[in-house]
């Protein structure tokens, strides 16, 4: 099976500190790979390196068999359409002085999608509807939306260029539990409809399990365990994975006692 994304022995270095130390992963089209670990384990650095937002000090990230860090000009711009990011805090990533409709439309404009403003507007309206928001709200500003709605806007913007890969870095961590469940359902539906691949970064193992086909566990810049979600959560092999799992306040285990 040819892989959409291939991460080969990647290192990310900040000065004297090596945040990612030789990580290899792969992701097929339409698949979700969960990346779990605690603060400072290197999971976000790896996510950014995958999108060529962070240089690698060694190793290679290949998207559809092309090294993303070697891309330039039009090829890099094309890669940016194919691989997009959803952030933890959509408020921090939306311009407070730009209506959300304009913010999404700008993405289309920059990448030359849509013949004219009216056509772009129609695309933005369709995106807004697709993520469960009312297109009448497109002229509103980010602060007029709730946290869950803002995350839907962040997802709509990431989807605007019809990417094949979404890197979602803690997309539901800042949300209430019921809103979290809604956004997870939305991400799953979009994946089914569009055949998107997700690199889903999180620290909450239960959420990551719910989302992912496979899980990679990161610790101190290295992947210490990978497997299907079931293998990793139900039968963890590495001591760190075991420690991580035993630290989760598990509602079912507590109630069984």
């Amino acid at each position: 099976m040819s892989k959409l994304l291939q991460v080969e022995n990647v290192h990310v270095r900040y000065g004297g500190f090596e945040a990612v130390r030789g990580v290899s992963l792969s992701l097929a089209a339409g698949e979700t790979l969960g990346l779990v670990g605690e603060s400072g384990c290197g999971k976000s650095s790896l996510g950014r390196a995958v999108l060529a937002l962070e240089p690698v000090s060694a190793g290679r990230v290949a998207f559809e068999e092309r090294s993303v860090h070697a891309l330039k000009g039009a090829a890099l711009k094309n890669f940016r359409c194919q691989a997009q990011m959803v952030f933890q805090d959509p408020f921090g990533s939306l311009n407070p002085r730009m209506s959300v409709g304009t913010a999404i439309e700008e993405v289309l404009y920059v990448h030359g999608r849509g013949a004219n403003r009216a056509e772009r507007r129609r695309k933005v309206e369709a995106l807004f509807t697709d993520v469960g928001l009312n297109p009448d709200w497109l002229s509103r500003y980010p602060h007029e939306f709730s946290g869950g709605q803002r995350q839907r806007i962040g997802i709509a913007r990431a989807l605007a260029l019809e990417p094949k890969l979404l890197v979602a870095d803690e997309p539901v961590s800042a949300l209430d539990v019921s809103v979290q469940a809604d956004i997870i359902q939305l991400l799953k539906r979009i994946q089914r409809e569009r055949g998107l691949a997700y690199l889903f970064i999180g620290h909450d193992l239960a959420v990551v399990r719910d989302m992912s086909d496979r899980i990679a566990v990161m610790f101190k810049g290295e992947v210490v365990e990978t497997g299907t979600s079931g293998q990793v959560c139900d039968d963890p092999q590495h001591p760190y994975t075991q420690k991580l799992l035993s630290a989760v306040p598990d509602i079912d285990k507590a109630l069984a006692q």
Partner: protein, 269 residues
């Protein structure tokens, strides 16, 4: 377990807190009743905007005035209504009897003073004649900081998030309070650090007989730590009871919805 023979430490009756215009107020807390017994860990559960934090701040009359107003109810703490206390009496209550810890230890700590100085402040104000330095180190030891002397001399940014929250707990314990209000104390922490902090809170309950009001939206934490739970939604308590009973057989629609939304670590067979 629920057959309490002693009197409640806190008895909140029909608490009402309003925000905004007097003519059309937002009823953030709309007639809430709850009780905490000595040595008990009680969880107040709900989502953003449910009124759980404002209810907790009301206990020591700490709601942000004038934006919020306590417009009704009684909070009986050790026999007297904290809502009728004078400012001088409230100062003796806050910190000394009821202490708080919050979600973001980094924002609760003053960046320009050492941790030890900040913990010592409450001791200097409330407990005259005590050796402050020795007491601070004793407190830091009791919250499990491995090198208390060094931690006391550190500035907040020199400590990790978990160590900062331990320092906050040490500060909260400085005057040996009867009630600790912990408002989302582990939400900003990694899961392994979260477990350490929750274990510490349970240990403090055992050793000191401390009562804890734990505010959280994480039902996994509730299941693992709380004796009883109150579920809050839109300013009202919609369900309460022994933790196991409420979580196993939730009666209210909202509690059922919350439980259904919790992602499960292991597939339920």
């Amino acid at each position: 377990m629920t057959a309490h023979t002693d009197n409640p430490l806190v008895d909140v009756q029909n608490l009402q807190v309003h925000f905004g215009a007097v003519s059309s107020p937002v009823r953030a807390v709309d007639g809430v009743d709850f009780r905490i017994f000595p040595g008990e860990i009680v969880a107040l559960v709900g989502e953003s905007g449910s009124g759980k934090s404002i209810s907790a701040l009301s206990l020591a009359n700490l709601v942000p005035e004038p934006a919020a107003r306590i417009v009704g109810g009684r909070i009986i703490f050790q026999g007297s209504d904290t809502l009728t206390l004078k400012n001088s009496e409230l100062r003796k209550l806050r910190g000394a009897k009821i202490a708080y810890i919050f979600q973001e230890p980094a924002t609760s700590l003053n960046p320009v003073y050492t941790v030890g100085w900040q913990i010592g402040e409450a001791i200097r104000l409330h407990r005259k004649g005590v050796n402050v330095k020795a007491e601070v180190e004793k407190l830091l030891t009791s919250v499990g900081l491995p090198d208390p002397a060094r931690a006391a001399e550190a500035y907040p940014h020199e400590l990790s998030g978990g160590m900062q929250q331990r320092a906050m707990i040490a500060m909260a314990l400085a005057c040996d309070p009867d009630l600790l209000v912990a408002d989302e104390p582990t939400t900003a922490l990694d899961v392994t650090v979260q477990k350490q902090i929750l274990d510490l809170l349970m240990e403090l309950r055992e050793k000191r007989g401390l009562s804890i009001l734990l505010i959280t939206h994480n039902l996994g934490i509730v299941a693992n730590t709380a004796d009883r739970v109150y579920v809050m939604n839109s300013g009202k308590i919609v369900e309460s009871g022994e933790t196991g009973t409420v979580l196993r057989t939730p009666q209210h629609e909202y509690t059922q919805k919350l439980l259904k939304a919790v992602p499960r670590l292991h597939k339920v067979s």
